[in-house]
Symmetry: C2
Subunit: 453 residues, 2 copies
């Protein structure tokens, strides 16, 4: 039996136990078996291998509910240009040359970066390919994740195959670290019939490979920008009267296993439907601002009782994987926009990045808080830093002052994947070298096509 006792730190449980100072967490075979005061647990589990967390704060590993992990390869490739130009002139032409191997390398870079920022679960949407994929990268890094294959009307045949292989090869693998999802790209790129088909596909794949404790979920972009009704009209000649959520509901595809990302351009009716259908929302404020999409009505969603979690979006629309940055932006943005400093208090935001994130991925029985019986996904944050001093309130510091780089040690499924900021699972230096080389080759392939035109 592998045993471990994290001792002497402040434990922010995100459960009914609240904050335990001079606390301890006991882990057996990857699971949390006890949480309490250090003095008591020290006696009870004296022989256990110990991690000293004095001066540190232990939180549940952060849950990033929206990523395109492989796209770290395009970080900083194009910024500050109109969305259409960004996609059509820069991102898509380069993405045409992306191979399975590139996806693997990009996802590896994101996996390492995520862990180094205290993120232990990542929900990622990208192309599932032969010869390399995001699941493989996450598995090597020891990162927990939901790996999706993104579906478009223009490639139904490839999608069907990819979805089957992804579910068969990866769902509930790596001691349950890896799950998979079905990811219709968006309502304007997936036609109504294909949308319904994908819903049916999800059901079938879940029946075959999933279980109530490990479901196959549905992950899609919803209402990222105001012009989606117009785009749907243009693409599929379908006219939309209400909002995008109302339209999706008319197709019968919404449900509690759906995570809708962005939800910027919502109607009041849309918010009501999201609540009724128990759809989960992934809020990506940094990306929404950077890509000039706008601001999601998060306070209204929360007031309506919708589960709202947080995401970074891809490393080329953010441009990092820092969930601490997303927490801070969430906490301050809605205050400023609505001129109400009581909106989105720190504790609510930390919930969104932990337990609400787990709920959004239907993974909250296993992760999202520090509780007996849950998997040991933990981030240990070093508070002995000038910007985290003096200390009045740990939650305030975690949301308003801490940075990804303050995370000292990370455990996923009870395994130490980073210790004193050193990744234990893979050689970071090699990953950086691979990423730089992969980017160079990708640019060379783009250039050779351009020259051949």
């Amino acid at each position: 039996m592998t045993t471990l006792r994290i001792d002497g730190g402040t434990v922010v449980t995100m459960s009914h136990k609240g904050i335990i100072r001079n606390g301890a967490i006991v882990i057996e075979n990857g699971c949390i078996v006890d949480v309490g005061k250090s003095a008591e647990l020290k006696r009870k589990y004296s022989g256990y291998e110990k991690i000293n967390a004095k001066g540190k704060v232990v939180i549940p590993g952060l849950v990033n509910t929206h990523q395109h992990a492989a796209m770290s390869l395009l970080r900083g490739y194009a910024d500050d240009c109109p969305l259409n130009e960004w996609l059509e002139k820069w991102i898509w032409p380069l993405e045409k040359h992306i191979t399975g191997r590139d996806i693997y390398v990009g996802a590896l870079l994101t996996a390492v970066d995520s862990i180094m920022g205290g993120t232990t679960t990542v929900n990622t949407m990208y192309h599932y390919m032969e010869g390399g994929n995001e699941a493989q990268a996450f598995a090597e890094a020891g990162l927990r994740g939901v790996i999706g294959h993104v579906c478009f009307s223009w490639r139904k045949k490839e999608d069907r195959k990819a979805l089957r292989n992804l579910a068969k090869d990866w769902h509930n693998r790596e001691n349950g670290l890896i799950r998979v999802s079905v990811d219709p790209h968006a309502a304007y790129t997936v036609d109504p019939e294909y949308m319904k088909e994908l819903r049916e596909t999800t059901k079938k794949l879940d029946e075959k490979y999933g279980s109530p404790n490990s479901p196959i979920i549905w992950h899609m972009h919803v209402a990222e920008t105001q012009d989606e009704p117009e785009k749907i009209q243009q693409a599929f000649n379908v006219s939309i009267r209400g909002g995008i959520v109302e339209y999706l509901d008319s197709l019968g595809v919404l449900g509690k296993d759906v995570i809708a990302t962005h939800c910027v351009a919502l109607t009041q009716r849309d918010i009501k439907i999201l609540k009724e259908r128990e759809v989960k929302v992934s809020h990506n404020p940094v990306s929404n601002l950077k890509l000039a999409s706008g601001v999601s009505p998060v306070p209204s969603l929360i007031k309506a009782g919708v589960t709202v979690a947080l995401g970074t979006d891809s490393p080329c629309s953010n441009n990092d994987t820092d969930m601490f940055g997303v927490m801070k932006t969430t906490a301050i943005l809605h205050k400023g926009i609505h001129k109400d400093p009581t909106l989105m208090p720190a504790e609510q935001v930390l919930r969104m990045a932990t337990i609400e994130g787990a709920k959004a991925l239907l993974w909250d029985k296993q992760i999202g808080s520090i509780e007996i019986g849950k998997n040991a996904d933990l981030a240990i944050v070093d508070f002995k830093k000038p910007h985290l001093c003096p200390l009045f309130n740990e939650i305030s510091h975690l949301v308003y002052s801490a940075r990804a780089s303050d995370v000292d040690t990370v455990l996923i499924n009870g395994k130490i994947v980073m210790e004193n900021r050193e990744i234990t699972t893979i050689d970071v230096h090699k990953v950086l070298e691979m990423a730089e080389k992969t980017k160079e080759k990708l640019l060379a392939r783009l250039e050779s096509t351009t020259n051949n035109l």
Copy 2:
């Protein structure tokens, strides 16, 4: 002669020389004497002590144009409450017990934290007291700064004395590292007559202690919130028809030596006046969002030709000193609010945090860019990190992906004040201990008064 050659890095000059890859910077007695290609300068200055900057990016030290440095002691003391409650119930009652020694300790903490985030110049507004002050703290840390004394109508006598002593004791001291300013708190706390008197005071102090190359400037909060006209009416029975800037202009107090912080609630006429009077603006987006003040019309200010620089505001309204965070928020916020992804491109934002900051403090002849003849205020940023990989564009990474913690080495006036993230001037561990103890004593003093009531 002290000599130094920073060698082999990418030099982001923020001057007409642009970006120099495999570049070098040569320093003699605190001044930059050469900037160019490494290969050439290596031969020319072969005997100089060398800092290896391979894999790193050298930028001008960041200029933080609005701080209340001592307030780091209240970081996280109260968040998420209405502005009035925040000030009246939390901040002001505690501040009543603040001593000169506390101010010194708080400023020392901010100074260390600023340097660790690549900030080399800080413009700070707080109470100048006997027995300890911000200037002393900055001097010990080796940080460049403009130290202001904040003035209120209710304490004119103390203000007059403090302003005289501050200018006499500190202006242009520490090899020119420390300058001072006159800081009327705001238009609603300084009555019209006192405002005019302070303008006159500034002129006199500048004549006595300042010089064209080292002026004493004027630093104040301007139009932070929409309700300032109402507050002025209530406080001084003065009725205001236009905006706050128009009101200040009617008093004849505006000029090119004025740095106006926040400028959130501006009229079109206000913007015109700011340009005409050559007033400089300090934009503090993180604080403005957190305190629910709103969003400054920065794109309009820049379009009108106003110099706009960046600031963090105090560590209890932000809650950190991270200028990288402020750069990213500036770059994404205005895009999102105006739904225009071309607003505030990365290079413009980096200018605001460097050369425009120097201009705003009338310090641009000496700092703000990497140019021959300027003081060597430099931040060396380590790019060998997952979140700064791969590399397409250094400026994009600096604004959208880099964090305070990526700063590796910092020079101010040619002196290495941080090397490999170790502060060389003071013992950081001791500063943290002092800050924590100082906070405890401050709370104890507050509690003893409360108990005596």
